[in-house]
Amino acid sequence: MSIDIALLERAARAEITRPVLRFYRWDGPSLSLGAHQRLDEQVAARCAELGVQVVKRPTGGAAVLHGKDLTYSVVAPHGTMGVLEAYREVAGGLIAGLALLGIEARIGTRHEGPGVLHAPQLGARAACFAVTLGADLQVGGAKICGSAQLRRRGWFLQHGSIPIGDDRAFTNRILDHPDPIGATCLEHLRPGTSEEELCVCLRRGFESRWGEAEEVSVESLLVGLSIPA
């Protein structure tokens, strides 16, 4: 995620001038918290006990367990697009990509599960996939993609998680959620879907909306920068 921020900062300084789409995975189970979400002591203790790394996202929203998911990130100019409009712009690419896998996703209707976000504490145990807001993606009413955004000097970073394997029970255990989280995953929707297949389809989905992509190395976009681990 430090690479996501570095890309956004380069864009904000006009050192990157075209949108960037990136896919990545995580080294083992990791819990990412929203930018202003507090780390509950008991959650921290369970993460330490279970070998789950905890990181803070630069973007908002609630906790996401990574490890069995694919993470995407987009850095793009927002122009006069508001937050939801920018989400819908990215959703177009994601929906088109999932459609290539035969998965019919749509922008979700609002559903608030346990751990609803509220100011100022921002729900210390709030789980991203327990809540669907009007910019997340659902399949058959279950959340398939949760995303979060950071806006800086005319550009936005949006990254999100698409669960491939089912990690809901583990999420519940870490965050001590009493109820099943209303989310789904690729393993349920299209068993046997590989991460590579998902990446290829998502890329094609974005290209169908935003034009042909040029594949470049992350290093080439971040020349001269030292990225913290």
Binding site: A35, H36, G60, G61, V83, Y87, H118, A119, P120, F156
Partner: protein, 136 residues
């Protein structure tokens, strides 16, 4: 259509600034900005007595689906924070130019305020951005 009060100055990052009788500057975010952000749920504001630099980030606004930087319109020291708005961030959406004020700065260079956008310039800036958005 976003409102642009005539008694304020503005930045291209969509902050507003009001010069008070005592020379201090009250700041907030504009109606256009709160419309773009959506429902604000959290404000990350600097501590009182913090030094801030004009044009640089001094805090963050989190709405239900986004985090956005807040930028200092002028260089100076933070002398007051709107604690009520920090505890009830919805005020920023409901009354961005009134109850939604964010903080008061003691500017180090009074002339810097005069360099901010006038209401007409800010309104034109919004129109230009909208025009670029339609062309893009």
């Amino acid at each position: 259509m976003s409102t642009v009060p005539q008694d304020l100055r503005y930045t291209r990052e969509h902050e507003w600034a009001r010069l008070e009788d005592d020379g201090r500057v009250t700041i907030g975010v504009t109606d256009f900005a709160q419309e773009q952000l959506g429902d604000v749920v959290f404000l990350d504001l600097p501590e009182v007595d913090s030094d801030v630099e004009g044009g640089e980030p001094l805090g963050e606004v989190e709405s239900t689906k986004s985090v956005s930087d807040l930028y200092a319109p002028v260089t100076g020291k933070v002398v007051e924070i709107n604690v009520e708005c920090k505890e009830n961030p919805a005020a920023l959406n409901q009354d961005p130019y009134g109850e939604g004020w964010l903080m008061v700065l003691d500017p180090s260079d009074p002339a810097e305020f005069d360099g901010l956008l006038s209401p007409e310039e800010y309104a034109q800036f919004l129109e230009e951005e909208a025009g670029e958005g339609e062309e893009g």
